[in-house]
């Protein structure tokens, strides 16, 4: 049984101009699945389509048996699917504490405070700067806050769009170590990555997206040793 099931998804920004052209992916409970692919392959668009943020023309998106296309985008996180966008993923004008409290607004006051405390334990760096506007955080800390914001609601699954983007190798290792911890606690992860090496080291399985549909898929180990992968990235999306 898949937790997330995407079938022949066609989606984009304008009607008749699909960016995602018939992509199908599956994520089983407890898995870490990576979506790889060259710049412009449509990875962000795919993940935004799952999150209900772009125009979906056809195809199916099911999460735990629910038809996500029938659900307004703002109800997704309450249904247990959290999303960390690639950029602009914290409220820069709110403090760290306000960012976290806002993320848990629908949990009820007591539960929300409990979860904020839990996130501060998981991310001690954030706890120290809780009164600071999120706009003043460094790139790595911002990414941590964005992940904390998503984890705060204890989602069944979390989707991350390029969590390593713009981070130094040391910070990438730090963020990915946190993600491994998160999965160990039972959270399923779907992540889009350009950092193939780091992603395949963490993921169980991966899809390679090119021209809006999956071009290759397999276990992380298989893909890591696949010759085509390097040529795909070096040579762009053209086969």
């Amino acid at each position: 049984m898949s937790l997330l099931q995407v079938d022949r998804l066609v989606a984009g920004y304008e009607p008749g101009l699909p960016i995602v052209r018939g992509a199908s992916i599956r994520v089983a409970p407890g898995e870490i699945v990576a979506v790889l692919g060259p710049n412009g392959a449509g990875k962000s668009t795919l993940i935004k389509a799952i999150a209900g943020l772009v125009l979906v023309e056809s195809g199916e998106v099911r999460f735990g048996g629910q038809d996500l296309r029938q659900l307004p985008a703002h109800r997704l996180v309450r249904a247990g699917l959290a999303f960390v966008p690639q950029t602009e993923n914290v409220f820069a004008n709110l403090t760290i504490q306000e960012n976290l409290e806002l993320a848990g607004f629908f949990l009820g006051r007591r539960r929300c405070q409990e979860r904020v405390r839990a996130m501060f334990e998981l991310f001690p760096d954030l706890a120290r700067q809780r009164a600071l506007p999120a706009g003043r955080l460094s790139g790595g800390q911002r990414q941590m806050l964005a992940v904390a914001r998503a984890l705060l609601v204890e989602p069944g699954m979390i989707m991350l769009d390029e969590p390593s983007a713009g981070l130094s190798p040391r910070l990438v290792a730090e963020v990915f170590a946190k993600l491994a911890e998160v999965r160990a606690e039972g959270t399923t992860i779907l992540m889009v990555e350009q950092n193939v090496k780091a992603a395949l080291a963490l993921a169980d399985r991966a899809y390679v997206l090119a021209e809006g549909r999956e071009h290759l898929s397999g276990s992380a180990a298989e893909l890591a040793s696949h010759g085509d992968l390097a040529s795909l990235f070096l040579g762009g999306a053209n086969r």
């Binding site: 999150a51 943020l53 985008a73 309450r78 966008p85 602009e88 409220f91 004008n93 806002l102 993320a103």
Partner: protein, 304 residues
């Protein structure tokens, strides 16, 4: 003289501030300059006048030295609700539709047209003659003797306007910093898509923004009617000062809008002895140009 001018400017400034809070919120959250906001002020004033006709029978006693009693407060509440309803209706019929087309200037021009239509509707319904909530003449109380820089006198109504404005500003501050809805409004102003991802119903936040912005505009209208007079062009006359206050304070900053409102109000009032009452409106305009030249993001602006 100078102190009196300052005091009068403060009263005018608080009315501008109340209108400017709503304007800056709608600007930040809906991302367009609503030229009909001045008409919300006018509608608030006239709707309260209409309601007063009904509520007057309730009681004829006034609150101590003030010119009004429970009937005007009840009318104020009715005006707030009705003006909020008017804003929601305009959004439904006009702004949301134009907004979906994705052409920002269409929404701005739409609000311009709505302002014209609403203003003429009021002319048609009430005529151009100034009207008042009360015909009673209020005695201005001496707050400072003439020996101190010409002294300060203020009517009890003016003091009430100052006091209630201060309370509303504090309430707005607490609301935006503490309440979930207030924080959600700041979140939507910053990034609507991220707000959606966070579980916030952006459409609901937009509706509340209209309700709060139009409600505060109605209060500004009633206060202007109480301390000056009620005319169909009162909102139009306030429009430039409102925008000057919003831009001076920094678009999207309610705190900045309040400060901007007070600065514009005081500047206009101080300018009267210098340039004469006919040109006081030009002061807001000059301030606006000056801000745009010197500091386009305003005092507290986050975005350019």
């Amino acid at each position: 003289m100078i102190l009196q001018q300052l005091a009068d400017g403060l009263v005018l400034g608080s009315i501008i501030a109340l209108g400017a809070i709503g304007l800056t919120l709608t600007y930040a959250i809906l991302r367009f300059a609503n030229f009909a906001h001045g008409e919300f002020v006018t509608f608030g004033a006239y709707l309260a006048l209409l309601a007063l006709g009904q509520f007057q029978v309730l009681s004829t006693t006034t609150f101590g030295p003030l010119s009004f009693g429970w009937p005007l407060l009840a009318s104020l509440a009715a005006a707030i609700l009705a003006t909020a309803g008017l804003a929601l209706l305009l959004d439904r019929l006009l702004f949301a539709r134009l907004g979906r087309a994705g052409v920002a200037i269409a929404v701005v021009m739409g609000s311009f047209g709505a302002a014209l239509a609403l203003r003429n509707l009021l002319f048609f319904a009430f005529g151009g003659e100034p009207q008042y909530y009360s015909r009673a003449i209020q005695i201005a109380l001496p707050l400072l003797p003439r020996s101190v820089l010409g002294g300060v006198r203020a009517t009890p109504d003016q003091l009430a306007v100052l006091g209630v404005t201060a309370l509303l500003v504090i309430a707005m501050h607490l609301f935006l910093s503490r309440a979930t809805l207030g924080r959600a409004m700041r979140a939507v102003a910053h990034n609507p898509q991220l707000a959606t991802v966070t579980g916030i119903d952006v459409a609901a936040v937009v509706r509340w923004t209209w309700i709060i912005g139009a409600g505060l505009a109605a209060v500004a209208g009633v206060f202007a009617g109480l301390t000056v007079q009620i005319r169909p062009t009162m909102g139009l006359d306030l429009l430039l000062p409102l925008f000057a206050a919003v831009i001076l304070g920094g678009i999207g900053s309610p705190f900045g809008a309040v400060l901007g409102g007070l600065i514009v109000g005081i500047a206009e009032s101080l300018a009267v002895p210098l340039v004469g009452a006919e040109y006081r409106a030009a002061v807001a305009f000059l301030l606006l140009i000056l801000i745009l030249l010197v500091r386009p993001t305003g005092l507290f602006g986050e975005r350019g």
